[in-house]
Symmetry: C2
Amino acid sequence: MTYCVGLQIDRGLVFMSDTRTNSGVDNVSSFKKMHTWNLEGDRSITIMTAGNLATTQAVVSLIDERSKEPSERTPSVYAAKSMFQVATIVGDTLKEVIKTHANSGQRADSTFNASIILGGQVADGEPRLFLIYPEGNFIEAGADTPFFQIGETKYGRPILVRAYDTDMTFEQAITLLLVSFDSTIKANLSVGLPIDVHVYETDSLKEGQKVRIEADDPYFNDLSMAWGVALREALGNLDTFRF
Amino acid sequence: MTYCVGLQIDRGLVFMSDTRTNSGVDNVSSFKKMHTWNLEGDRSITIMTAGNLATTQAVVSLIDERSKEPSERTPSVYAAKSMFQVATIVGDTLKEVIKTHANSGQRADSTFNASIILGGQVADGEPRLFLIYPEGNFIEAGADTPFFQIGETKYGRPILVRAYDTDMTFEQAITLLLVSFDSTIKANLSVGLPIDVHVYETDSLKEGQKVRIEADDPYFNDLSMAWGVALREALGNLDTFRF
């Protein structure tokens, strides 16, 4: 599995993804699931992928190839005039890859499906955040649904639902997401460190700060410990049930 | 879906189940998923069920019927000499019901599967807690895995993993479980109040205290609010991430 979250706040977009992929518990590897395309002063685009690794890597490679040759920039995420167009390109590419594999006459134990979180800003548009389905269609985040999760989403959801705040700082948002990731990692072997982070600041139109949090990161380990203690304390401070 | 948790602590066993069943979002009802069989001074047995409602109700009815006629108390949960025998009876009954339905020549959109949490104490045995699979086999809780969840288990798991303590009081355990249920209910429509609680005290060999927490229960509502606030505070008190 995988765990990725894209979060929209007033200040911009925050992306966080784990790097563990597994095909059974004896075939575990690390792959980057976050990819960005940037053109300073014009656009910054980030995608995170969950699902069949062959599918998601093919999608990323196709998007990449098509954005390299200026003469072949159709459809390119660099040529798209809006984030909606970018989402359409990514969705079409995803659908195309799944269709190609599914029609190849081969059978696979797992399906070729994948989901993608896409976010960014193009020229004078707003920063936008999308969730793209294997069918190539997509939905957009808004005030009511300010974040998307893909992969192993359930363990880390309660804290996001409870503690999200639209005027958080980037640092607070990352802390919240790390707690959500920590809850997931504690409960599910198929999600693991290192964790990739990308922060896109509204109207900056360039790649934002990127961080990789490694398995032995002292801040993450302290946070995990502190959160465990804080949860127990918070629970202890609640009015205990009485019969 | 469903959410049920059976928790083993030093003082005994705590059972908690929701009551929502749904077959699609437009067919939602309330059914009791917790059932007890008690013989004072001799045994107390509790089961909680998740899965196909027709299957689980048939299992409960069969166990019930077979325990009513003293002359037909084989196999009866009242005649079983240990919790292991009770688990075997319940497992066999479950397997039998699923097999009957699956072989009837009919097809159903959903499978007939179900899982059961079983706990209790028989005569001079220890209190024991089991998780019974649709295949009729089962596993037992121990010091390393002191609780079992069935149904919609993921949302409520992180807090259980983090805050369980073997020497909790019953009241503390119920508070912890209510927080776990609250996290699940907040995130998933298919789990809902009322909540049933049964507390079995080690060596009491009789039905323990039973509580039903209704949808408008003021304690539960306060707890849910207080937990939301406590989570935000706990998060605010963590060392915020720095780039």
